[in-house]
Symmetry: C2
C-alpha cells in the first residue's frame, strides 16, 4: 500500500511540494485567523472547530496564547513593538503550517488592523481567512472568565484592549460571528462551512 501511494508522488527538484502533502491529507492548507476582544469567545470557537475538523479526519491545529506566549513568544511583552512582533511571528508560523497542509486556526486578540493585514499580505490570495468574533465589550466584560476586565478596570493591567487600548474591527473579514446569538458549535460549523465553500476541505 505504501508502494501504491508512492507511485503518485512526483519529486520536484528534491523537495516535497505542498500539493503532495495536501493530496496526502486530502485538504488544502489554510489559515483561519480569529480576532476579537478579550473574552469574546475566540478560543472556545477555535478549539470547537479543531475538534469537529479532526473528528472529520481533517488535520487542524490551534495556535493560541497557551502554546505561543509560553513558548515561541515568551521573550515578548505588551509594548506596541512587541505586540506587532507577536503577531508577525504567529503569522510566519501559521504560514509554515499552511505550507505543511494543515488548517491553522489562530486565536489572538490581534487588535490592530495593520498587524492583521501584514499577515494577510504574507499569504497567497484565499489562504488567509479572517474571522471577526464580534462580541460587544459589555458582554465580554460580563463574562470575564479570567477576571481580566475587572483587573483592567482597577487599573492593574495597563493597555488592556477594549478598556484602555483600542480594538480595530476588521473592515472586510471573510466571516463575522455574533456570539450573542450563536453557540460555539454553531460558530465552529460556520467556519467549517466556509472552508467547504472555499474548497479547503471536502463537503
Amino acid at each position: 500500500m505504501t508502494q501504491t501511494k508512492a507511485t503518485n508522488i512526483v519529486w520536484h527538484e528534491g523537495h516535497v511540494s505542498r500539493q503532495e502533502r495536501e493530496s496526502l491529507l486530502d485538504q488544502r492548507g489554510v489559515m483561519v485567523w480569529l480576532t476579537g476582544l478579550p473574552s469574546s469567545g475566540k478560543s472556545t470557537i477555535a478549539f470547537t472547530a479543531e475538534h469537529l475538523l479532526v473528528a472529520r479526519g481533517r488535520l487542524a491545529y490551534v495556535l493560541d496564547g497557551d502554546n505561543i506566549r509560553h513558548g515561541l513568544n515568551k521573550n515578548l511583552g505588551f509594548s506596541a513593538d512587541d505586540r506587532g512582533e507577536n503577531i508577525r511571528r504567529i503569522g510566519e508560523v501559521g504560514k509554515l503550517f499552511v505550507d505543511c497542509g494543515a488548517v491553522a486556526l489562530t486565536s489572538f486578540v490581534s487588535p490592530y488592523r495593520a498587524d492583521r493585514d501584514a499577515v494577510r499580505d504574507l499569504m497567497e490570495d484565499g489562504e488567509f481567512l479572517e474571522v471577526f468574533v464580534d462580541t460587544p465589550v459589555e458582554i465580554c466584560e460580563q463574562r470575564d472568565p479570567k477576571g481580566l476586565y475587572a483587573k483592567a478596570r482597577a487599573g492593574k493591567i495597563p493597555s488592556f484592549t477594549g478598556i484602555s487600548d483600542p480594538y480595530e474591527s476588521p473592515e472586510n473579514p471573510e466571516l463575522v460571528i455574533k456570539t450573542a446569538s450563536s453557540t460555539p458549535e454553531e460558530a465552529a460549523n460556520a467556519i467549517i462551512d466556509m472552508l467547504q465553500k472555499r474548497g479547503k476541505i471536502s463537503a
Copy 2:
C-alpha cells in the same frame, strides 16, 4: 464515513489531544534535528527523507534556512545572541509541529551544543532525535556548492562555522551519518529506520 470516524474521537475538555491527531495521521510526532557543518549535506538528506516519508503516506515537514531565515527569523543576524535565539525559535516551532503530529525535520548548522541541548530539554524523552551529519570539513570545503567556504577563507564572512567559528560535535546523537561513505538515499533511509525502530512510524 465522516460520522464513523467521529465516533472514535473523545473530546477532552474542549481540546483535541495530540494523540487524536497522531491517531488520524497514523504516526507519532517527532523532531529529527540534523546538525553539521555548512555544506555537510544536511538539507539534501532532510529533503530526501521528507520525500520518502511523504511517499509512504507519512506527514513530514522540513524546517530549514529557506523557510525560517527568510520568514520567522528574518529579524535575526549572526551574533552569538542571535544565533542562540535563532535555534530557540526553531526549537519552539518544531515543538508545535510535533504537537500537531508531524515528523519535523530541521536542517541547520546549529553549531553550539548548549543551544541544541536547550531544544532537547524543551521536548519529552524520545521526541528529539539528534542526527549528526558527520562530514569532514575538508570535504565540505571541496563541495562548497554556494561558495561560502571560499568567501570565508577570503575573510568576507566573519564567524563562519568550521573556518573561524567552532562547531561542537554532538556527544550522544541518536544517529551519525557519514556522508563520505553513504548516499543521500542511504542516509534518509537510516533516518526512516530510526523512526520505525522507535515506533514513530509503522514499518
